[in-house]
Symmetry: C2
Subunit: 195 residues, 2 copies
DNA sequence: TCCATTTCTTGTCATTTGCTAAGAAGACTT
DNA sequence: AAGTCTTCTTAGCAAATGACAAGAAATGGA
């Protein structure tokens, strides 16, 4: 396996104003690994101790409802940082499960290394705040969409924004993320074809 | 009207490790005002330019769904800071409306003064991060509760945690916040009485 | 290539929940 | 204290959506 941090460095630089040297320095703390499909990064009731950068592949977050069903709360498409940052920074147990949907390549950094780099690399201090804001914002948008948009509108929005997800993730998972049953999504897709 | 900043100072000190002197200094930037029932603090499509401390009274946040109905997204019970902090810090239009449910006493600080105090009072810098984390966490908990708990369980949780809300806010607003119709909440309450 | 597994669609059925409307109870005003 | 307005409950009805099951299609592994 070719270990190249280019993608990670480019991604960090797209988020933060930081020199290539500093970014490379940060990357020393990231360890690359490969995960098979269905691998768990984090399970509910555990405190998140690692932040993952997803270089390639797809990941979902889900929680178990009262009937034992898995409800998808997030779908991640590379390149992106994947974590329950509330669990990570508040040091509290998560309620979500994070699992790969395909074979994936990750880079991970431990909580201790994140803390150390906050002190060692001033530019990196913005990272935590940015991850919190980004994920909060995403959850907020999702809540608003659930209230304002029909399931069909949510489907079309996701289709336009992340076609790659539809090519790599089962519709059952996507339907759950959209807040509907897989059979209902099938009906929506059927109606859309008749237009 | 008696202008006493005691409640505000105490509340800030309960959030942040800060001396009484520094806290008092911060309070110079807060202006007290009284608002009647049904007063709007912030309307959708506007950028939030003020952060409000609710000294007494009750406030709701709501968004308009596609049928024109008001869907309650938050109920605030004093003492608490009230704002769409994503709109406030990202300088982007909000999707929510913030409206008083009772006569209220507020203290407000402008965005410019918040920025100025971030520089002038080092201890205050944690404030923004804390507000984001607190509100993010609250939204996350609410999402999880919507998936895991029945409406009855959500009702009982709120009842135990904020009895004051039930004594001051119409059940119609509370039902909407719980994610159900007011008539459904009535059914739940009826069933609970038969136990 | 073939078999097994997963995924997707489709139809039927049942249940839940919201909508509407009406009346009772309560709160506020004058 | 009377009257108005809001709030809350209740009942009947309608509609939307999920559960279940069966079959088709696609995928992946041996």
């Amino acid at each position: 396996m070719m270990i190249s941090q280019d993608i990670l460095i480019k991604y960090i630089q797209s988020l933060l104003p930081i020199s290539s040297e500093k970014a490379s320095q940060l990357c020393i703390s990231f360890n690359q690994f490969e995960a098979e499909k269905n691998h768990f990064l984090l399970k509910e009731n555990n405190v998140s101790n690692e932040t993952f950068f997803l270089e390639s592949g797809f990941v979902r977050a889900f929680i178990i409802d009262r009937d034992g069903n898995e409800v998808t709360t997030n779908i991640f498409s590379a390149p992106i940082f994947v974590n329950d940052f509330l669990s990570f920074f508040k040091r509290q147990p998560t309620s979500e499960n994070f699992q790969t949907l395909t074979k994936c390549i990750f880079w991970k950094m431990s909580f201790e290394d994140v803390q150390r780099n906050f002190h060692a690399v001033p530019e990196f201090r913005e990272f935590g705040r940015m991850m919190l804001v980004t994920n909060y914002s995403h959850l907020n948008d999702r809540m608003i969409s659930m209230i304002r948009d029909t399931a069909e509108a949510r489907y079309l929005k996701l289709l336009n924004k992340h076609l790659d997800i539809f090519q790599n993730v089962p519709l059952k998972i996507i339907a759950s993320y959209l807040g509907i049953a897989d059979t209902s999504l099938s009906r929506i897709r059927k109606e859309l074809i008749n237009k």
